[in-house]
Amino acid sequence: MKAKEYVEKVKSREISAVKTTKGILNEIKKINGTYSFFNAISENLALELAERIDKNPKGKLAGLPISIKDDLCVKGVETTCSSNILKGYRPPFNATLVNNLIREGAVIIGKTNQDAFGFGSFNVNTDMGIPKNPVDKSRVTGGSSGGAAGFTALTEFPHVAVGESTGGSIVAPCSFCGVSGVSPTYGLVSRYGLIDYANSLDKLGPIAKYVEDLELVLDVIKGYDFKDSTSLKQDIIKEKEVKKVGLIKETLDVDPKIKDIILKKLDEMNVEYEKVSLPKTSKYALPSYYIIAMAEASTNLAKYCGMRYGQEGKVNLPFNESFSEVRTKNFNKEVKRRIILGTFTRMAGYRDAFYLKAMKVRTLVIEEYKDLFKKYDLLVSPTMPIVAPKLSEVNKLKPRDHYMMDVMTVGPNLAGIPHMSVNAGFYDKLPVGIMFTANHLNEKRLFQVGKGL
């Protein structure tokens, strides 16, 4: 059942929010041992909110179960970003997004698993157990919003997940799990309460089975927030017409079966498309993205030192030793790797060549997209260069191979432009995602095309 229909039925008291909530919570408890989609199940909060709704069924999301990625603060609910360093941490405040959801009657059911701090494309870099792809349990969900996409694919209950994207972490797991997800324009959704990976790249967005549900939830979570200084005052534009679509030719150099699925889907769409080129983006967006992301992340993660929140350090040591000990012990390999790379690229002597250079390349990437959007309403490409790999295959990959997975998704993420992935078909029974990218604040065009498919 689509969310909108479900909400109508809750409001007309045809369906009980409490009953649905109990049902979905039971399902989570049953499957989580196998699937590791959830780091925390917020049972008390969920039932409290559901009861409130049944008493007074109001709001655009009345009674709708929503899972929250574990990098978003929910007051009083354990929030870890899937890292041991934040085990036991209960934020003393709600993220603005969470407040917005609750205000419209949503029922917060739990915190979903992810790569620690968002560092990963397969959700294998988690300290909380690696989530399994419901389509094939021997395969990964993709990341970093793996728990969110995985559970969305598995559950038949009405449900929308809130995911987060820095370099592609909403659309990547959507592609691997066969569900839909949108990463909105940077600044459209408030980041207040989002535990930062990279401040100039992080975005929050919904993951759902249906595009209508994405639109419904985005409508509630978007909007200016005075607490987030990068929050946009403008709203998404009204235009939703999609007349011309550009197929990014550099992204077609993939497995021919994947390419075929994409092309077939485009033909079904009945929309005029032509091949376009993003020469600079295709070559340089990836390194530029990673340098910026890691540089910012290395500063964001400095605060975790055993004081104030999370795992506490020893106080009877000199502070540098105490900090080093707690960080070394509780940060996993990938987290350490990114902190080291990020610290390196902003050190004097390397800063110009890496950090500043990456910022300049970003300008060129944005320009390249803007140029295309003068002519085209949407751009399209496969979401990922592969289908969901087996966990055993992922374990053989080197770090640089992990990073190269993001080659399709880093472009729009770097430019802060909205992009959406929906399922385009199956390759040996494994989902293949097709990704649409629009200009800033053109989300309506994405939904228009997504609903048509």
Binding site: G187, Y284, L317
Partner: protein
């Protein structure tokens, strides 16, 4: 551009991370492979290009100088506290 062991140790120290020799051995080639990808940026000319620190231009965001007291107890997440102070490691 390469990271050698000395640079790695200096960076790790700066980031308050302790690496064992085994970890250093493992990391060095991995880091240098990634650096190779990063160094690909040198092939793109960016003379005269302004850096974009944010993808969407926002400017002049302020708040009024008003006091709003936070009612939450910021010490609720720690055991290391003493008389309303956060307790921390030796700092001299």
């Amino acid at each position: 551009m390469k990271i050698d062991r000395k640079i790695l140790q200096s960076v790790a120290s700066n980031a308050r991370l302790k690496l064992s020799k085994k970890e250093e051995d493992e990391l060095l080639p991995q880091l240098n492979e990634v650096l190779e990808i990063f160094s690909g940026l040198n092939n793109l000319k960016t003379d005269g290009i302004k850096p974009s620190f944010q993808p969407v231009e926002v400017k002049n965001i302020f708040r009024e100088d008003k006091v709003n007291k936070c009612e939450e107890d910021m010490l609720q997440n720690v055991k290391n506290k003493e008389d309303r102070y956060f307790k921390g490691p030796k700092a001299i």
